[in-house]
């Protein structure tokens, strides 16, 4: 092996390790890990199971909200919510049928929502505006219509 190859490979290895360290630090120390909630539900009894028997938004603290939401072809329930700017919103999600995606354009909210599994993701909305929420996993003929909005006032 030539010296320059050794340097190149050391740098390559180092780069991968730095990636690992940063990712690990963010995941475990800063709690910025990807949505990975591990709670299950009977996908055929979503409507009868708490909290999904009452989907909607609930204020749970100063500037803090909880949104219980079901995803089904081809809609979100509730299909619009409103929060004041600066609110921290906890989303609790599940699917009543096929695999869906929960993405809010121009934010880092992005989570897979699977039937049988409860998914959770939290976001603080600092900027006022009308945010577009869309399903980003192909779910059928009307997939392109599956969207809702979050108004941040």
């Amino acid at each position: 092996m030539h010296l320059d190859e050794k340097i190149w490979l050391t740098l390559s290895f180092g780069m991968i390790m730095i990636f690992m360290l940063i990712t690990g630090y963010q995941t475990f120390a800063l709690e910025m890990g990807p949505p990975s909630h591990q709670e299950t539900i009977d996908p055929e009894k979503v409507d009868q199971t708490a909290p999904f028997n009452e989907p909607g938004i609930k204020k749970i603290g100063e500037n803090e909200y909880e949104v219980v939401m079901t995803l089904q072809i081809f809609s979100f329930t509730p299909n619009t919510i409103e929060v004041p700017a600066g609110s921290k919103v906890h989303f609790i999600l599940t699917s009543k049928d096929v695999v869906h995606g929960f993405e809010v354009a121009n934010t880092n909210i992005n989570a897979m929502v699977m039937p049988g599994h409860i998914q959770k993701i939290t976001q603080t909305f600092d900027q006022p505006g009308e945010y577009l929420v869309l399903c980003n996993e192909y779910c059928g003929a009307g997939h392109q219509m599956m969207s809702m909005t979050i108004s941040v006032k």
Binding site: L9, G33, Q38, E103, V104, H117, I118, G140, M145
Partner: protein, 564 residues
Amino acid sequence: METVITSKEKVTVFNKANQVLGIHLEDARITKSYLLVAFIALLLGGFLGLLQGLNRAGVLELPVWLNYYQILTAHGLLLVVVLSAFFTIGYFYAGLSHTLGGLLPKVRKMAWIGFWMKMFGFVLVVIPILMNEASVMYTFYPPMAAHPMFYFGLVFIVLGVWILAAGAFVNVSHWRKNHKGQHLPILAFFATGVFVLLVGATAFVAVEVLFMIIPWSLGWVDTINVMVARTLFWAFGHTAVNIWYLTAVSAWYVIVPKIIGGTRFNDYLTRVVVIALVIMNITGGFHHQIIDPGISLPIKFMHVFMSLAIGFPSLMTAYAMFRVFERTGRRKGGKGALGWLKKLPWGDVRFLSPFIAMAAFAPAGAGGIVQSTNQLNQVVHNTMWIVGHFHLTLGMTVVMTFFGISYWLVPFVSKRVLTPQMNRIGVIQTIIWTMGMVIMATSMHIVGLLGSPRRTSYTTYGEHVAAQAWDPYMIMIGIGATFLLIAVIIQVYAIFNMMFFAPKGETEFPIAEVEAGEFPTPYLTERWGIWVITMLIVVAMAYVLPLTDMIVNAPPGSPPFKTW
């Protein structure tokens, strides 16, 4: 005793005939058939790609009887499964025939059985897609359920792949028996790695389809475990595309150095790269599930490492390629820091196309490293960014290498030659394709960062401002797709011309020699048993824990849905 001698004599005569006359006619017919299917799939898949591009640009409304999701399912399968698999098999079978002294008669038979099984499987897959009974995409995630015929088709395709892999192993082990202590010729070594991976990857999807989806889609069982199905799919789904990449890499190490008039990179390190890519590949698929529920953060973190690890052999390859280019360019009189670049044969499509393919892997690989880390994955998951990423990796890195190969492989198996005119057409084709892909993939990456979802037909989301910001990029995607279809048509014309109409003659199968005075490669590299076992251990480390968790802590399963 006598018979033994005669058969041995026959082998030598046959070998000599092979070296003098080029490829055995019957072996050539196998490769030609595979390549023809591959490029017809390119034509159809490319055409469907243009329809999608124009639809998303908002200039084409698709009829009810041929909707966007049908087209997208067919586009994905034709290009990711048919074009790549048929090209890979045709290319490696020609390589095995050439470097191992011809295919064995029984291997030839296996190649044909595999061919017809795959074709039969594809017919079974295509019928329900055309009838809009299987608009489930390349990933067919349960609980979406296609017509059972779709899944039976997949089974036949996998069986076909296994027969072809078995054929390759039979031929390789026959050669090794007759060449004890020798290293497998390098192209056959790559082929072995590719077929080992093909078996390893398809085993997962076979379990998913045979034991989970088929009983469920036939109604024998009521529900399915969606997480397990999805996890098994990605152990296959990502490995498949990496196999096409490894096929392209084989041409970079073995073929391209010969075309530029040089020698190939260090034989030992080349084999180490192949072994590394084989061992670490299957576990890479898990990063498709970084934002899934039901998988713990430590498991996801371990998989970030498993995905990133594949980057290392790719970075070794990047070094190797430029080292070979520089060495060759300098020997041809290139001076100064970059003078050697001028000595490379830029006007030769057999070099130009794979070179651009390699160059494209720089941004493509960097994008891959970025998006397999936890938080950055969350930003781009299921957006158009991903579509841009795999159009760089597959549409440029892999396919442009395949195009470059076709300009000598097709004349080689057809006993014809590449004329200067056809070379010029190839260069033009390469330039148009590059322009199309650069425009399209760049726009896809940007619009993905702006939130535009993948696998979604034209939509304005009720004239939402966020969606309006995507429009200019969508138009660029349509323009890129138009360039690409023009390039596809030229490429398919070139294939037919070189196969049936080009002037007769002998074309060389370009395999570069090792550099003189290189240290001999340790024989350890040939111990495939060790590498396969290591691969299985790595796979077990990656999958046993999460799969057990998904099965033991499974929610009640899901019934089938047809949502299209």
